[in-house]
Structures are given as C-alpha cells and as structure tokens.
Amino acid sequence: MSPSNRTAQPSALRRFWHKWRFHLNALLLLIPLGFMPKYFADAALFRGDVGLGEHEVGEIQVGPWSLRLAELRNEAPRLSGPAGYMKDFNAALCDACVEQVKATYLRIGKPRSLRAAGVIFFGTPYRMGAQLPVAEKTKADAELWITMEGWDGSMHQASIPLSQASPATLAWLNQQGAKP
C-alpha cells in the first residue's frame, strides 16, 4: 500500500515525508504563535493601556466643552457584515464637562437636527466608544461632525476634516474611488 517501499532506495525526501507526515500538523501551532503578539496588543488596546486608541486625533473644542478623540485602530474601516463598513472612534470628555454632557454623537456630514446627530457614544466619560458607518462613496473632503448635548438642553457642534480624524479612512476612500 505504501509506495515508498516499492523502490529499493527511497529518496531522502521521501523517507522524511514518510517518517514525519503525521506529525506535520504540529506546524498548525505556528498559527496561534503568530497571532499571539496581536492578541496581547489588542488586549492592551481594549484595556486602554496604550491610550484612547491607536491614533489620537487630539483635543477638540465643542462650544464650551471639549473632548479628546482617537481612532481605536489606525486603519481603514472594517466591513461588518450587511451593516457595511464601520470605523471605531473613542473619546474622553474634559474634566469640567463630565457632569454637564448628556450625550455625544458622531456623524459624517453636518446633522440637520439633534435627532439626526449620528451615532451615540457608549461608555463612561473617561473612555467611550462609537461605531461610525462609513459609506464607500463618501467624498474625500467630508467632515466629521461632533454633536454634544447638555443636561440643560443645550447643543453644541464642531467639525474636523475626515482626513484629519482618520487618515487611514481617507486613503481607503481614495482607493475605493480608483475602482471601476
């Protein structure tokens, strides 16, 4: 049944294969070993050991308040099933506004009203996250709008260029445009 026995002098390669063929699957262990650095880097990222995210956008003034914004990952939006492409942002409120801000929202393009302010941040004022949908045909000069709503009923807005908020997203958008 085993063909290697048929020749009088099997080649070294053949002998090696014959001897080790059932142990080669141990090489599958290289997969988790290879992903291990990323696993621990991700764990540290989610714990916040390395700051708000991989790419800090900086402090953004929104009316009387301000927040620190960061991209969770310094990379292009990720496809999230049928929901389309998503980009994760993290934010931290300024010390003075922790008690005053009721909610913070993120949207590409200027919101027409508070009811359409975009995706809402979840978490604590020290570290909160929002998942922003990014359409593939978003314009390269699009702006990221931050809306903050106060417990007193007030609303303040600010915007920054998407290219500043997420250079990786812009590179990705340019690539999308290159497609036929």
Binding site: I31, E99, Q100
Partner: protein, 396 residues
C-alpha cells in the same frame, strides 16, 4: 464485503480520523480542559480574587452597598458592571473605568466591599478560551477562520466516537468487565486504556462533539446572516423618557437594589447575579441571573430613571429550538452548576486528551512492529532471490 474486511475498513476510518491531525486535536483538547477550570486556576494564583468572609455570620453586601464602598474608596472610579460569580469563594468581578481612560476588572470582596486588586493584565481565562475557541485568530468581519478551524473538529470527533464503537465489538461488556492490563507491554496497556476510557466517556465525547459541531453551524448561520433568534431588539430610550433636569446636572437614577427588587418581582425565581449600568443617558439598566433552569440566563432591562420595565427575556420567551441551541455553550464548557460540574468536565477533558495520545501511541506501536517485521522480511529477501509480497504497512 465480508464482515471481517468491513470491520477492518471501519478500523481504518477510525484511525485516519485523528491520525493526520493528532497534535492539533490534542492541543485543542488540552486547552479546552484548562479553560474549564481557568477561573479556578486564576483563583489559586491570585489571592485578591478570593472572597474571604470576615466572620462566619457576615452578610453579603447588596449591590448598592458595593457601589457605595467603591465610591468611598475611589471617588473618581466609575463602575460599569458588577457580576457575582457562581461560586461563593470568588470575589465580585467589577468592571471599572478610570479617569486616565483605562478600563479594568477589579476584584471586590462581597462581604466588605474592599477593592482587593485588579485582575492580572495577563487574563489567563480569556487567553485559554481564545486559544481553545479560535486558535487566537482575530475576528475581523464575522467569525474568525480560527473558529471554523477548531469547531470543524466536532465532526471527526463525532465520527471517531461512532466508528470506535462499531470497531469495538460488544463494547458494553467493557462496563462489566473493565480490563486494564499493566504487565503486557505498552501496546496492550494503551489499547486497554483507549477502550476503557472510551466507553466511559461516550456521553462526554457525544456532548463535546455535538456542541462543537453546533459552534460550527452557529458560525455558518451568522456569517450568512441567518438568524434563529426570537429575541426582539430593544430600542434606545426615547428623548421623552429621559427626564430633564433643572440644574443642568444628571437627574437621579433609581438605586441598584430597587432595580433588583423590581426585576425579582417581575421574574419569579430570579436570582440577580449581574448588573450592567447604562452606557449613556439613553441606554437602559440591565440585570439578570439564572432561574430554575441552570443553563440559561434571564434578564430584565429597565429605565434607570423611573424603574419602568422596558423588556424582559425569560426562559418562557425562548422557542424550543432556542432552548436547545442556547444550552449548547454551557454544556460544552461545563460552567452551569458550580465547581463539581467543572471538575467532572475537567476530568473527562483530561481523559479525552489522553485518548488522542493513546490512539497515537497504539498506532506508532503497531507501525513500529510492522516496520520491524517488514525489515525482517527484507533481510530474508536479500538472502534468497525469491520475490516476496510487499508489506502492507498502513493497514496494520
């Protein structure tokens, strides 16, 4: 096909199912076995995870008392959730957020409210589960391919169980006359061991392989956007249901103990074991725990300002299909009935790992024997010019 050659064929199938991937299967079995008791291992290694009772009659603190104790010790720290592990020797797991932006799980004594320390940065429990469950391959869009790689093993494992029982004629006799021969060489010992542990593990191998196969089906369903869930999506709270405040500060929320009281009134038999605080001004307070059926949780979702019940998810809300599918995970992990169930799962996990190893040992011993025989024949052939038949190694 004759009866003999048919059983030989089954035998071949049985050995081929695991042989080419034995090391992979072994590591998945070993990491799974470790994952079952990972919480206990962390408990042994970290004194801050232990819930020591100051005196025999010291009562457990309520959720509000725990919250107050944390607030007093660390006024800046914000609590995101509190969870009471199943076994009373574990401290509370409290997820907190610090002003510097870090999120941590800290261990809090359930009797004194003392923050005993943070969970170690190396999360052994999560690591063994990630290694066992998806081979550490990250999830990017849908399920990770590592998840498919591992959960696919449910199929050859189920087939191993069936072919093993077909090959082992009248296996039920093994229950009455257990044989484990120590003095007849390694080959006989491992053969006996393989068969004996095999028949006593029939139920366990069936449970693990069927639930493992479910994980594969679950991934396939999810990645193809097929949902069997009857659980409604709870919308965020409307603007109107969040009260305005006159002094521009957050309006008061109901206490956690009041929330527990409301939930337990609505859901008879519920013992609240976790509380998840609202993630923003428009999100709910949710809490839950087990009821009479230990394999599933029941949850309540409340408006944190007025205590109004927004939604509940009870045992009776599940369809009969969900009763089966939602039971799969706890059946696989053994974390539904305290330490003893975990120890049973751990023991049979070890046995299953040993079965992979003993199966391999049997095979190598057979091959070693067959190779020795083949060599003997080769030598004979060299001395006499007669052409002999080729040795058939694989079927040995």
């Amino acid at each position: 096909m004759s009866k003999k050659s048919r059983s030989k064929l089954w035998f071949l199938v049985h050995s081929w199912l695991a042989l080419p991937i034995w090391f992979f299967v072994l590591i998945v079995c070993v990491t799974g076995t470790l994952a079952v008791v990972s919480q206990e291992i962390v408990w042994l290694a970290n004194p801050q995870m232990r819930a020591s009772q100051p005196s025999d009659d010291a009562p457990r603190l309520s959720y509000d008392q725990v919250l107050a104790a944390i607030k007093q010790a660390e006024p800046q720290t914000l609590v995101e959730s509190i969870s009471r592990p199943d076994e009373s020797h574990f401290a509370l797991d409290v997820e907190v957020s610090y002003p510097d932006g870090r999120s941590q799980t800290v261990y809090v004594n359930p009797y004194t409210g003392v923050i005993q320390g943070p969970a170690p940065d190396f999360n052994f429990k999560a690591f063994t589960r990630a290694l066992h469950g998806w081979w550490l391959v990250p999830f990017t869009n849908g399920f990770s391919w590592g998840w498919y790689l591992v959960s696919f093993l449910g199929l050859p494992m189920l087939a191993s169980l069936v072919t093993g029982l077909v090959v082992y004629k009248r296996f039920w006799k093994g229950f009455f006359k257990p044989t484990l021969r120590f003095r007849h060489g390694a080959r006989i010992f491992w053969g006996d061991f393989h068969r004996l542990s095999g028949i006593w593990s029939i139920w366990f191998i069936a449970v693990i392989s069927i639930t493992g196969t479910w994980f594969l089906i679950q991934a396939i369903l999810a990645d193809n956007q097929v949902s069997i869930s009857s659980e409604p999506i709870i919308p965020a709270m409307s603007r109107e249901s969040v009260p305005m405040s006159s002094d521009a500060s957050p309006p008061p929320r109901i206490s956690l103990d009041r929330a527990v009281q409301i939930a337990e009134q609505h859901i008879p038999g519920l013992e609240v074991s976790f509380v998840s605080l609202p993630g923003n001004a428009y999100s709910h307070l949710s809490l839950g725990g087990r009821g009479w059926y230990p394999l599933m949780f029941q949850t309540a979702t409340l408006n944190p300002y007025n205590g109004e019940m927004a939604a509940t998810r009870l045992l009776t809300d599940r369809s009969s299909l969900e009763f089966v599918t939602e039971s799969m995970r706890p059946l696989h992990t053994g974390d539904f009935g305290g330490l003893w169930i975990k120890l049973i799962w751990f023991f049979f996990g070890l046995l299953l790992s040993m079965m992979v190893l003993s199966g391999l040992l049997i095979w190598t011993k057979r091959t070693a024997l067959a190779t020795a025989n083949a060599l003997k024949r080769e030598n004979k052939k060299a001395r006499s010019p007669r052409v002999s038949r080729e040795p058939a190694e694989v079927s040995l």
